[in-house]
């Protein structure tokens, strides 16, 4: 069964029948994590880098922001027995409109916040497809940990 992760949303599952999917990322980032031993996976679709933008909104929906959404995703999978050192990590999205520079390049800033956090916490990315002007969709099968990536204009591909 497809569990759709919306924009500014997160889902974690250990149901072998479920497939987590998030569509049309634009400048947003999808982060998928999976523990092959505990067979639990999670998918986060965040839109903006930092929650300091709007603390009230962040409290209401932490999945909107990378800086607080990412830690929650990890913690939620730990509740289902996932271990950090076993997690397989996939990152997709963060596209940009041509000539978006500096602070206006929100796709790049979304990616940077994740890289910084992973660097600090010793988290290694297993597969990453970010940037450019393409639109992406990401899918994660809980039974096997198999993931698929769809890039605009092309079909769904196994990762």
């Amino acid at each position: 069964m497809n569990l759709v992760v919306g924009v500014g949303d997160m889902k974690v599952s250990n149901d072998p029948e479920s497939v987590l999917v998030t569509y049309s990322l634009g400048s947003c980032i999808a982060l998928a994590i999976y523990d092959p031993v505990a067979k639990v996976g999670g998918l986060l679709h965040y839109m903006l880098p930092e929650s300091s933008l709007d603390v009230q909104k962040a409290r209401k929906n932490p999945y909107m922001f990378g800086d607080i959404g990412i830690p929650v995703l990890f913690k939620e999978t730990y509740k289902f027995g996932a271990k950090k050192n076993r997690l397989q990590i996939i990152v997709a999205g963060g596209s940009q409109i041509l000539d978006q520079k500096g602070l206006f390049n929100i796709g790049k800033r979304n990616h940077t916040v994740l890289r910084k956090m992973f660097w600090k916490n010793n988290v290694m990315i297993d597969f990453e497809d970010v940037g450019g002007t393409v639109n992406r969709t990401l899918k994660l099968e809980i039974k096997t940990g198999q993931a698929w990536l769809k890039i605009s204009g092309a079909g769904m591909k196994k990762i």
């Binding site: 634009g26 400048s27 903006l48 929906n61 000539d99 206006f104 002007t133 639109n135 605009s152 204009g153």
Partner: protein, 296 residues
């Protein structure tokens, strides 16, 4: 050689003419929509005129009231008449919404060339129009229904160009990837005409006001707006923000251009843009409801 070029130009012109002729394939504008458009284009329109147009069509009135009562507008009281709707939302907004309730016809189908499934182009058009309305309100512009309607209908050209984009997708995509040009410039280079120009031709044929035709024609080329004009920049900006949020993004991806001077003209900082994204994301369910009511 000169002859060859001339012959090729003639062939290209014939192809473009063929594409433009396909405008006739679109579902025609209804009498009512034509009348609402008159109201939107005329800033002196009165409530009586709007009520006069919609009151004979019960289905349309009911639909308009459902739109006005939808969660997106968050009215405390349930509206039961068009007159009341205007009292709460203003004639400008009600006319915009009447337009939204009568425009889905041509936008519902899947657009395989742009990799959009059934309903996606309409969902995107509504989102983009609401976003443009929101930005125009933030900048206190006074021609909001015109901006809303232009944003709502700006991609009508895609409905016609779709099959051509599908046939030439590889060449278009190659031009985007290898030359770093925008998708719309690649459409023009490969097919001979782009979806914004084609949309403007449709708008002309449907007797839209010259201002609206111009917004539709330049919605990806805001640098062509006259100095001081904010309508084209607002519609352009709304489109960019929707793209960044992944709304209505298909095979064209985000391959359009960011014009910093246009963003500066609107006095939008990166924080303003991020706040707009955050604000809009909280309304996605309400927008979905509007899409469904207006598309039905």
């Amino acid at each position: 050689m000169v002859k060859d070029i001339r012959r090729r130009d003639e062939e290209n012109m014939k192809e473009i003419e063929k594409i433009i002729k396909e405008i006739d394939r679109l579902k025609p504008v209804s009498y009512i929509r034509d009348k609402i458009m008159e109201i939107i284009s005329n800033p002196d329109s009165s409530l009586a005129e709007l009520v006069g147009i919609v009151k004979y069509d019960q289905g349309m009135t009911a639909n308009l009231l459902r739109i006005c009562n939808s969660a997106y507008f968050g009215l405390a009281k349930k509206i039961t008449s068009v007159k009341q709707a205007v009292a709460y939302l203003g004639i400008d907004k009600v006319a915009s919404l009447a337009m939204m309730g009568n425009s889905a016809d041509n936008f519902r189908e899947a657009q395989a060339g742009y990799d959009l499934t059934e309903g996606e182009l309409w969902r995107y058009s509504v989102s983009s129009a609401l976003m443009a309305q929101d930005l125009a309100e933030k900048r206190n512009l006074n021609n909001i229904s015109l901006i809303f309607t232009s944003a709502l209908l700006k991609d009508i050209g895609k409905v016609i160009l779709n099959t051509y984009v599908k046939d030439s997708f590889e060449a278009i995509n190659k031009a985007v990837q290898s030359k770093g040009i925008t998708f719309i410039d690649a459409e023009k280079e490969v097919i001979g005409i782009d979806h914004a120009e084609l949309g403007a031709r449709v708008a002309e044929q449907w007797n839209f006001s010259p201002v609206m035709v111009n917004i539709i024609r330049n919605h990806h080329h805001p640098e062509k707006a006259l100095p001081g004009d904010l309508s084209i920049p607002i519609v352009y900006m709304a489109d960019c923000i929707c793209m960044m949020m992944g709304m209505g993004v298909g095979s064209d991806g985000l391959a359009y251009r960011h014009y910093q001077d246009i963003v500066d003209r609107l006095h939008f900082s990166d924080i303003d843009i991020q706040k707009t994204i955050a604000g809009f994301s909280g309304k996605l369910e309400d927008i979905e409801e509007l899409v469904s009511i207006s598309g039905g």
